[in-house]
């Protein structure tokens, strides 16, 4: 089956030929003998044409792996998606870039804006105290604040939706 591996700045076409005995990968003119064996629930030992890689599949569900430590965010598009794209459909899910979520639990100490404010990319949005440090969270893109979901002085959990831009 044909796949496309997409990262931020690259796209590679491969064909995966699974078999009962082995996995072969066709990449352009190269045939690659691929063998991945799970050594821990979230870690694989991979041999590809005898080159050895340790691959971590850190976060289940997320399209993110580490190869010999290097973190790689990727999308794997299968033939169906590729075909849809050929037909002019954009199959890739649009990510909500303007959604600001907390990465860790903490205390919201100050919010610099109100709903409706225009903010520039890199402009401070709010202050959050976590792990004894005051963290200034900046706007990831330029746009108008459409929603603020928390108040100053509020304690928030990891993954809380704080505000939305655009």
């Amino acid at each position: 089956m044909k796949y496309e591996i997409n990262t931020i700045d690259q796209a590679i076409q491969i064909e995966i030929l699974p078999d009962k005995e082995k996995i072969m990968i066709q990449q352009g003119k190269n045939k690659l003998m691929f063998d991945a064996v799970r050594v821990q629930p979230e870690m694989y030992s991979v041999l590809m044409n005898n080159r050895s890689f340790v691959v971590g599949v850190c976060s289940m569900g997320k399209n993110r792996v580490t190869v010999n430590g290097t973190p790689i965010s990727l999308q794997l598009l299968d033939a169906v998606h590729l075909h849809l794209r050929e037909l002019g459909w954009e199959s890739m899910q649009e990510t909500k870039a303007g959604l600001i979520e907390t990465q860790i639990p903490g205390l919201i100490t100050q919010i610099f804006h109100q709903v409706g404010d225009m903010v520039n990319e890199g402009e401070p949005l709010f202050l959050m105290e976590a792990m004894k440090m005051e963290n200034e969270i900046k706007a990831p893109l330029t746009g108008r604040i459409s929603k603020i979901s928390v108040k100053e002085g509020q304690t928030v959990d990891k993954g809380t939706n704080i505000m939305e831009i655009g």
Partner: protein
């Protein structure tokens, strides 16, 4: 020597201190918060006592509770580690009043040096040069602005009560100054309970160099040479090394002498660190003295062969130093990489969660001072440092290569860490070449972060194909309820088949 010591700390430094205690045949008492019932320092200790809920001010900062436990467990001394109560004059005084030994300098030395402004005032009476700036801590913003204008921008705002980069701000102009002072005051208040700050001249192309000091009660003071600490982000050290690639023997001798003079000025006893800024013309200025064990003390241990915690304990029990200045030699080179639970790609935001997979590097010249374990939960309550990787080799190039090898070997799954960031620094040509200054991170930030995620086409194919197989297996598990193909290798079977045919 003491028979029993209470370690009033947690994490890697608690474990570090307890290891030496056990080697000296001293029993150890751990204290722990609710979040730390099964933390490594609790499992390691001979005894362990519950302190209180997870927040530090309800557990590791509670003088009363810790003193009560120390008395109950018949501990003869208390080792405060770094952070928490390590530079708390009040606590040091109360320990002594309760008839126990505080393993640290006398309360007077903590008081003098702990308050950066008092320290500056003391140092102005010596031959040791200090950076121009405020002599009194400032609570008033307008007053601070006046000083800043006098010494000229850029200036540095620092918390009077603490260290470790918390509450620190660099300001380039009048416009942003007032806002920055406010932030520094709030952070300082939250971290150290003291909102006063002070202002000093910000040196350009500065090197952050510190000297390790050992002093006993009998008036002997020696230094164990320098540590180079110019690799910082958010004003926090990330990578330290000894010796410094910037310092020559003449400068080392002069700075060492100044460090000893500093320690003598405040009647120092125990292990301490004198921090200097050195400009590009090799002029050095006293910055501050840390009246405790430093995070980065192992690099000094690796190049001198001296166990600093053992020396602290010996000195605290009243014994004279066994080492003389002329016995201190530098053997080879050591580099420390601090491994934080932080996402370097997200401006070093702390990362919490469960360590689902752990592989710690080992082998020749490779030391890891940590307090982590597979399946352990990293909570958001305390400092996000997981541990320190220290690599030694006979020269700097060897130590760089060993660090790179060890960082490549290091694997922590389930949370974000600074392992890859450290790897990017270690292999950066400017760092490899040395010397570098404290601007290193800001200057090469982009290149460093790009290096972390740099991947060849082959690596992308491996990433994609493994993700494919992983998802296929998960699919099969959920479809059939059967186990996956874990531990079985298609390819080995294929090769075997070929061989048999």
């Amino acid at each position: 020597m003491f028979k029993k010591i209470l370690v009033a700390n947690r994490g890697e430094i608690a474990l570090r201190v307890m290891r030496t205690c056990r080697e000296l045949n001293i029993e150890t008492v751990a204290v722990f918060s609710e979040a730390d019932r099964t933390a490594p320092h609790v499992l390691f200790a001979d005894e362990a006592y519950y302190l209180g809920p997870a927040p530090s001010n309800e557990s590791y900062l509670r003088h009363d509770k810790i003193l009560e436990i120390a008395l109950q467990s018949h501990a003869e001394a208390i080792h405060p580690g770094y952070g928490f109560l390590s530079e708390n004059t009040e606590f040091a005084r109360r320990v002594a009043e309760a008839g126990m030994v505080f393993i640290g300098p006398p309360a007077s030395a903590i008081k003098t040096m702990g308050d950066k402004t008092m320290a500056r005032q003391a140092m102005l009476q010596t031959d040791v040069p200090v950076v121009p700036g405020t002599e009194e801590p400032i609570d008033n913003v307008e007053e601070a602005l006046a000083v800043a204008k006098t010494i000229g921008f850029p200036v540095l705002i620092k918390a009077a009560g603490g260290g470790g980069g918390k509450g620190m701000r660099i300001v380039n102009n009048t416009q942003t100054f007032i806002d920055a002072v406010g932030k520094a005051q709030r952070e300082s208040k939250s971290a150290f309970g003291d909102s006063r700050v002070y202002i000093e001249k910000y040196l350009e192309e500065p090197h952050h160099i510190e000297f390790q000091i050992l002093a006993d009660e009998h008036g002997n003071i020696i230094h164990l040479n320098e540590r180079e600490c110019s690799i910082q982000r958010r004003y926090q050290k990330v990578i330290e090394e000894s010796p410094s690639p910037f310092i020559d023997q003449d400068l080392r001798d002069r700075m060492g002498k100044a460090a000893v003079e500093t320690a003598r000025k405040c009647d120092y006893v125990g292990a301490g660190t004198v921090e200097f800024l050195v400009d590009k013309h090799k002029n050095f200025y006293f910055l501050e003295m840390n009246t405790r064990l430093q995070v980065e003390h192992p690099v000094t241990e690796m190049v001198t062969g001296i166990d600093l915690v053992a020396e602290q304990i010996r000195v605290a029990s009243g014994l004279p130093l066994e080492i003389k200045q002329e016995d201190v030699k530098i053997y080879g080179h050591a580099i420390e990489c601090r491994i934080y639970a932080e996402d370097a790609a997200q401006d070093f935001t702390p990362s919490t969660g469960k360590i689902v997979m752990l592989q710690i590097p080992d082998g020749a010249g490779t030391r890891f001072d940590g307090a982590i374990r597979q399946d352990m939960e990293i909570t958001p309550y305390y400092d996000p440092m997981l541990g320190k990787l220290i690599c030694w080799a006979k020269d700097r190039e060897g130590a760089l290569n060993r660090s790179e090898r060890a960082l490549r070997e290091f694997y922590i799954g389930g949370i974000e860490t600074t392992i890859q960031f450290c790897r990017a620094v270690i292999r950066h040509p400017v760092f490899r070449q040395g010397p570098y200054d404290t601007h290193f991170y800001t200057q090469f930030q982009k290149a460093l972060h790009a290096d972390i995620t740099r991947a060849t086409e082959d690596v992308l194919v491996v990433a994609g194909a493994t993700l494919y197989q992983h998802k296929e297996q998960l699919k099969h598990i959920s479809e059939s309820g059967k186990s996956d193909r874990k531990g079985r290798s298609n390819w080995v079977r294929a090769q075997m088949g070929r061989e048999q045919s």
